[in-house]
Symmetry: C2
């Protein structure tokens, strides 16, 4: 039997099916009503994802599809939730603006929403409505809402000389996972377990709310200063450079401490491994600049975290590699994806 | 000189230019931080607008362009703010997810944002960030945030038998304005002033926050019940039918009280005038179901408002026209725009 397309069921039936992914008390009126805890600030962020640019559901041939609709939905939500985690916030809700052509199978749309719901069930938050409309290309516009107490927001501008720079996990894993999906024959030396972990890092990234909870448990937020940080969605190098630029400081990054998946050493050349670690992007880890005592406590309790450098007064971001000459090279500006 | 396109300036410069439309303290981090008044609920709504479906900026030939970039921006924000007004909320902020091809002139994008900012300056709220990405078609995904005290939210489900049905302004004006733009030779009997007003209703619709303020001044919100209502973005008939369906009630609408622009009588056949008034859509007025005393007070103070019918126990929505046979006809289901 031919699978049902969106144009077979029409807008009303599509909306009815999609409402099943939303709590009933939040949808059906002109807008959703949500409670924000008193004394909290609202945190809001928006991402737009386009089929063929950020994911490939609607148009690719089967052998180039790297993302199932479920994974695309998960990733879209994870990317937004990661922005909330990067502000130190806890998630409340998202709204979803979906544009798509009529010939998209209904099962794909439901898969997309199932993936979004899975991610929200795992990390917190609900789909609080949105909009659906016809377009030549599938796109998802997601706004995520969270909340944070004012003194506990993590901001890009707060890095101070003497802070340690901490990465909450390895980088380059998502980039490596994508490579394994695109070219399954590569990564010959990579074990089955590592392979699965890298692919999962690409398909099912996990925003680091666990780190935020841990920072609270460690009483890392005090009234004297804000913690600094952002997520590494556009790459580790981009995160470090952006924090330094907005804070008016510099950084020294130890090349030997770059947080890369251990299997890179048996698979990639040192240059390739460093490149993916610094510029791969989409690992959705947090890059934090905190007092050394906070950094040490966090590393003690979080096995994935590592201290990779320090913040300096000099406004240069340097990569230090004592095995090479010169020992210090400036970290180059983001090679992150440019849309235009 | 050839006008600059988005791809001529690149993503970073585009973002820098668009940030000038945002308050500086709200952009530049992973997400925006906003204060919500204690004791208030957050109200959130999302709309997606596609060039060629909801507006025509990027692709139409000059003689079919009915919307300048500034007007498209204004309309996009007005549509979202109208959803906030329909909940009885006051506006706080919007986020804007913009997708567009690289060949769009930068001046068009800036015009779009200027129109959005104009509308927000007029009715309240700021652009609190968003996202920009490349896409084959221009689309705008707007999420609007507002706030309302819990007992003062206007909801679709609260209509009660005996309530009067009130329209806050005329309907069909936006549809008529579009017609005048598409066929400037039509509407021969329509005065210059009326013509301007109808076109303005289409290009620069005004969300009815003034009505919300007036309801507060009239102490119309009491603890015993919620007021019922929604906006008429999908047409007057659609609003009445949706309120009745979700409230489990019916309605009697007096045909002679249908709120239409006076100039319709000298321009359109009675059938055409009624059709545009009931089904034209995009007037962004409020349709309220309130106790008769509240309705009378509102009409006394608001010259554009009129009482058009009453809510009944019988779950039918009837249009009453004593000059015809039969006198009563069921109002048909929305002929509002179907996306699929």
């Amino acid at each position: 039997m031919k699978p049902l397309n969106v144009s077979d069921i029409g807008e009303q039936e599509l909306l009815r099916r999609l409402h099943q992914f939303c709590p009933p008390h939040l949808v059906g009126d002109d807008a959703a009503l949500l409670a924000v805890d008193p004394e909290h600030r609202l945190v809001v962020t928006t991402d737009v994802l386009i089929d063929g640019v950020h994911f490939s559901v609607g148009h690719a041939s089967p052998d180039t599809i790297t993302t199932s609709p479920e994974d695309a939905g998960w990733r879209a939500i994870a990317a937004n939730l990661s922005d909330l985690a990067a502000m130190g916030a806890t998630p409340m809700a998202v709204t979803v603006g979906l544009s798509l052509p009529g010939h998209v199978p209904v099962a794909q749309v439901e898969g997309l929403y199932r993936g979004m719901q899975d991610c929200l069930s795992t990390f917190g938050g609900v789909i609080a409505g949105g909009d659906v409309c016809r377009s030549p290309v599938i796109s998802l516009a997601i706004s995520a809402l969270g909340q944070v107490k004012p003194g506990q927001a993590i901001v890009r501008t707060a890095a101070q000389p003497g802070d340690v720079i901490l990465a909450t996990g390895v980088h380059g894993a998502s980039r490596a996972g994508l490579e394994l999906l695109l070219s399954p024959d590569c990564g010959v030396g990579v074990s089955e377990g590592d392979r699965t972990a890298l692919i999962s890092a690409h398909q099912r990234p996990r925003p680091r709310f666990d780190v935020i909870h841990l920072l609270h448990n460690l009483n890392a937020f005090d009234s004297k200063r804000s913690l600094a940080g952002m997520d590494s969605s556009d790459g580790l190098a981009d995160a470090i450079i952006q924090i330094c630029r907005t804070s008016g400081v510099g950084a020294r990054i130890e090349c030997e401490n770059l947080p890369m998946p251990p299997c890179f050493s048996s698979w990639l050349s040192p240059e390739q491994a460093i490149d993916w670690t610094l510029y791969g992007g989409e690992d959705f880890e947090l890059v934090l600049c905190v007092p050394e005592s906070v950094g040490r406590s966090l590393v003690d309790r979080l096995s994935t975290a590592s201290i990779i450098g320090t913040i300096t007064v000099q406004q240069e971001v340097l990569l230090i590699d004592s095995s090479r000459s010169p020992n210090e090279v400036p970290l180059v500006q983001s090679r992150g994806f440019q849309h235009f």
